[in-house]
Symmetry: C2
Subunit: 342 residues, 2 copies
């Protein structure tokens, strides 16, 4: 292993000079800098992460808790992770993967100084992990939005607003009885933050417009077809559907087309999903994009800022955007950006 001492010797300078060249924390003459940089290159030196973290009391690693629970949308999770990793790297941070849903994994990483900060996904409305997290020294950011007093910075897509936006669109198309075909039952049951907020926005918008709206759990499989049939059987006059379930979307779409509830002439669906999923369905659907990768990079930005000592933004919500595909004039209706602070 090549150490900083080897570099120092090769360059004919002291160890501290090499260190200062690398960190830029002191002014160094151009000639010295060049000699050191050349020595680093020739020897292929890269500093020992452990030694560095011991001396500097920081690791340049962020712990990322990702959900393994059933019912979560892997596609979206992966995109969020992608966004986090890529953006964290631009700030010079690596990602340590934490998967156990039990918060002791995070505690272990934090107390063992393995990470400088924690990023937690798959937040529930009343998440039991938050208690543990508040006692840690490292800054923490939630991807999601718990209910009640928010003691911790949060980043997420504005699902509540997305509910309003979808209802707006369905109303504009003349629908007066709406259904939200949502996440699998287990996701709703544990009050996953995004599902709760979407339902809240959807129902509030329906109530505000004095229109009937109902929320339905839906499995991520072909059984989604059955759910559609049940919803229609329960209220045959339902004509507008907000679908928030990536895996179920193809099935729901197919069934609604079959039963004449959706066509390009008479559209009845707004899909809430990543763009490529909306495009992969055999026919046009209006959709609100879940900007999963953007959520990830926003979260990475926030947490890196916090590590750098900047004050966290409280809550940062990414505004939804509706893309219309069912009218002949294809337009992207951008919604005003709603970055709120708490």
């Amino acid at each position: 292993m090549v150490t900083i001492a080897d570099v120092a010797e090769e360059a004919g300078v002291s160890i501290s000079t090499v260190s200062y060249v690398m960190s830029g924390k002191r002014t160094i003459s151009p000639t010295t800098r060049q000699r050191v940089e050349r020595a680093i290159a020739t020897l292929g030196f890269s500093p020992h992460a452990g030694a560095r973290s011991l001396a500097s009391r920081s690791t340049n690693v962020i712990g990322l808790q990702i959900p393994l629970r059933s019912g979560v949308d892997v596609h979206v999770v992966m995109e969020v992770v992608t966004g986090v990793v890529a953006q964290a790297r631009t700030h010079g941070y690596d990602i340590l993967l934490l998967t156990s849903d039990d918060p002791r994994g995070m505690e272990r990483a934090a107390k063992g100084s393995m990470v400088d900060a924690l990023l937690v996904m798959d937040i529930e409305s009343d998440d039991p992990r938050i208690g543990v997290l508040t006692h840690l020294e490292q800054p923490t950011v939630l991807i999601g939005l718990p209910e009640g007093r928010r003691t911790m910075p949060c980043v997420d897509f504005d699902f509540e607003e997305a509910g309003w936006l979808a209802v707006d669109r369905l109303l504009a198309q003349g629908h007066r009885r709406l259904a939200l075909i949502g996440s699998p039952a287990e996701v709703l049951a544990r009050h996953t933050s995004y599902a709760d907020r979407l339902a809240r926005g959807f129902l509030a918008a329906c109530a505000a417009a004095n229109v009937v709206g109902s929320v339905h759990a839906c499995p991520s499989s072909a059984d989604a077809t059955a759910v559609v049939d049940e919803v229609v059987a329960a209220d045959p006059q339902v004509t507008g559907f907000l679908v928030h379930n990536e895996s179920a979307l193809p099935h729901v779409f197919a069934r609604l087309v079959e039963t004449g509830k959706h066509s390009s002439a008479k559209p009845g669906i707004v899909a809430l999903c990543p763009e490529d999923v909306a495009l992969s369905v055999p026919g046009p659907v209006d959709s609100i994009a879940v900007p999963a990768e953007a959520i990830g990079s926003a979260a990475a930005d926030v947490i890196c800022d916090m590590i750098a000592g900047e004050t966290p933004p409280g809550v940062r919500l990414i505004a939804p955007t509706l893309t219309v595909r069912t009218s002949t004039d294809i337009v992207a209706t951008k919604h005003p950006s709603t970055t709120r602070a708490t």
Copy 2:
């Protein structure tokens, strides 16, 4: 921060004694051990990972390179990751996420002593990263199977054998013209290891049986339907289909049912995908499970053994299993385990 010195003082012993209690590398009297353990518990001590890695020259972290390229099956990737993380934890290892496809990310992690070993997914038949990896000090395991001289331990599902097995089944059902509906074109184009091997096994089995077999790329979207139509148009007599594309499966299934190529009475499909995907399709299909999580934990086992200094097994392939769902007697045909070594 509470250090080992605090624990030592609290317990009334020396620092080294505390260290030996934790590592178990020396015999300690029961009374001392208890005192130390109590002190650790009261103070809530957990050792500083950086200091530990500096002194012991090992990090207890494994770097995992996961693919972000287009066309890969996120579902399968996630399951592999799950398996890796869970199994690595049982060996006391954490996972550092590396996502850049450029091998310099891995080099950085390795040379900076951030990881004790590397696990690389999404291997291509002639993977350019392997050259870089061989020059690293840390042991490396590939999840996948490159062609040619294998200088590195590999773990994977036996896709080649799966090709044979699928053909066996289709032949047994009386099919004589077979098609493999496979991965997206970009995956085939870059010669992703599993796609190559599956095609090889499939074609070899067809040739051995003196039967027509063809391989087709297929996008992971509703356009899969078009691919089915093209395949059938090109050779209307094709009756047996091996489908290896999780996202396309529902569409391919639907189209083959519509066109009368598949029904429970006259089955024409073998699906190669995770079990739950095969079960989510609206009707019975025979399937060969891709045991993604098992691949992940097998890889974790191998790499942990290597770190522990045990000799690697060369190549470890997990044998495929066919599950028959289209006959009235539902049986799992287990294939003889084929763990080969190179």
